[in-house]
Amino acid sequence: MENILRIKMGEEGGPKITVEPIGQYAGLGGRALTSAIVSKEVPPDCHPLSEDNKVVIAPGLLSGSAAAMSGRISVGCKSPLTGGIKESNSGGQPSQVLARLGYAAIVLEGKPESDDLYMIFINKDGVKIVVDNSLRMLGNYETVEKMKQKFGDKISCISIGPAGEMRLAAASIAFTDMELRPARHAGRGGPGAVMGSKNIKIIVLDDTGLPMRQPKDQEKFKEANRIFVEGLRKHGVTGEALPAYGTNVLTNILNEAGAYPTYNFKQGTFAGASKISGETEAALETERGGVATHGCHRGCVIRCSGIYNDKDGHFVSKQPEYETVWAHGADCGIDDMDKIAMLDFLDDNYGLDTIEMGVTIGVAMEGGLLKFGDADGAINLIHEVGKGSPLGRIIGSGAAVTGKAFGVEKIPVVKGQAIPAYDPRGVKGLGVTYATSPMGADHTAGYATATNILKVGGFVDPLIPQGQVELSRNLQIATAAIDSTGMCLFIAFAILDQPETFQALIDLLNSFTGLSLTADGVAEYGKKILTMERDFNMRAGFTKEQDRLPAFFRKQRLAPHNVVFDVPDAELDQVFNW
């Protein structure tokens, strides 16, 4: 991972490929690298779909190695959805493969003058970019199938669907999983639209003949990995709950807590929750010959995913995750798991962010376009997006645009990005992160629950309400750091509860890179990333007024607890004061 691959799409005579040493970006990976490149090289005031924007695709620092759970990949750009900096990350195989190919990042830049569509192929012998207009407006599944026929099944792919080609603001970038299915997505913030604006349909990666990346200190690395894996396996969340039920294990609980946003954030409980819960989903998967415990990339030991089949045992989609099930389910009043799985597949195939699409349809329901609970209507709407009809283009542009188009007051977005599956009136601490994250409303922005070990920002008493701002700050710092390692964020639970597992993570990083990071060093790394991101947004014109939740969260009480979001603005403005 000593090189950065730049593909300049706007050069005279066609796309130009350059490979350059990582240079000034040495020591950075994943989110740290994408945010550093975007922050330094993209003019903050540029149009997100212009030649000035760049798509940066970066594996984590540990990706491509034998480190367990190191298969996350980050995508950075200026977001067409939020107008600010974006890092969206995904699982799947490409992170490991790209790292083994030796690239710390692929940077897609410029914009071609013609409307030809390009396919990029990368292997140990180099990089080829060719025009392939036969891929135009194909879904991700069909596109990858064509690549499989052409290059065999030892490849992994990064692609966009029709939504990306149409440059819709909710478009995702798909990453193939172990079965070569384009089922993993960098969905949030519309990075697929930016890739589409460069006319790049797919990047095919082949690491045949290349070895695993080797650590600087083999023995220490091996021992740290052993302790790390042991820690993940023995922990109740990473070793039991997630493998058994996936992330959707949260549905019943959030519903019980009254913080499960239902009918476009009207109330905090959904009568049909048990029908779409992780417990029900896992039982259905097993009964129908699918899989309830499955990894999204090689080297995953948590295996929180699965395979969802229909009643006849045919593949429908990968196991829809908690956020997807909620967005297309409770938020739209839909309690049919089969329909939700179909919506998940359609989102993946057309290349759309499932959270944005679910929330958008909920907003459209509020606006009277269709009724809450109308599952077939929701499926038709996603097909409209895939077809590119005028209605579909509005829906594919996300909740904020759709809300305006249908005259809806209650639009659950921050910085233009849909709010995920935890009502901030019930779990206010998450509301602080939704409001202040440079990424827009993002449940993963403050996810790395290891702040008590990192003690970033000093020790915080978690039992006083005023601790929420400090905790959100610390969580965002820890998350930014983990997002840069290539590690799946779900490791956070084991490192929260088990100091030896957290130490094993630091030992993994140090033995692999030769660095001498400490817990303090990790915290500083996280702060550096957030500072770059905040700086970009400020230069793009963001002020503290964008660090706010929509007004209805302060005014409309959430049943059954009858609570509002009441963290003062002045406190929100303190989140990044370190």
């Binding site: 039992l463 905790l471 607890h561 609570v563």
Partner: protein, 170 residues
């Protein structure tokens, strides 16, 4: 009675299991941090869960480090006066606890509505019935297949059902 009394003294669960395994508890939809003082009353709804993922999962955890993130839905501190009364409560078991605590409750006996119990038995497949050695209704031995009909429960709105292992009835 307190939640701790119910779980440890009435159900007979090991204190260690209650402490470490039942990490997330809701009483009437509110997060519980202190099971020794949270009071269950007639009509209460008690939900029990193992550890959960996500920051939300960590926040909802009993007495967890991130409890302040959800203080608006936390059950207020109570003072338990130690008095006990008879009553009926609803217990919800989630995720890993379904398999782990389900047998304990089934053995003690659970109350189900007439329509629910008949519907449940109607939905059971042959594998289930193959494992039923005998069925008893009010101490009368009955053919197990009749349990799926609502008629046999006529006159009762709710039914106490308990599941015995071989040898338990002797």
């Amino acid at each position: 009675m307190s939640i701790e009394d119910f779980l440890v003294r009435q159900l007979g669960l090991a204190k260690d299991l209650v402490e470490n395994r039942i990490s997330t508890i809701f009483l009437n939809g509110c997060c519980v941090d202190h099971i020794e003082t949270a009071v269950i009353e007639d009509g209460s709804v008690l939900a029990l869960s193992a550890a959960l993922p996500g920051l939300a999962g960590a926040s909802l955890r009993r007495g967890g480090y991130y409890a302040c993130l959800r203080e608006s839905i936390t059950r207020s501190e109570e003072i338990f006066n130690g008095r006990m009364h008879e009553g009926v409560i609803v217990v919800k078991l989630f995720n890993l606890l379904i398999g782990e605590l389900g047998p304990v409750f089934l053995k003690k006996g659970i109350i189900m509505f007439r329509s629910d119990i008949a519907a449940f038995f109607r939905g059971c497949n042959q594998d289930f019935w193959n494992q039923v050695e005998s069925a008893h209704l009010e101490d009368r031995s009955v053919v197990s297949s009749i349990l799926a009909g609502e008629d046999i429960y006529r006159g009762a709105e709710s039914i106490l059902i308990s599941v015995c292992e071989p040898g338990d009835r002797e």
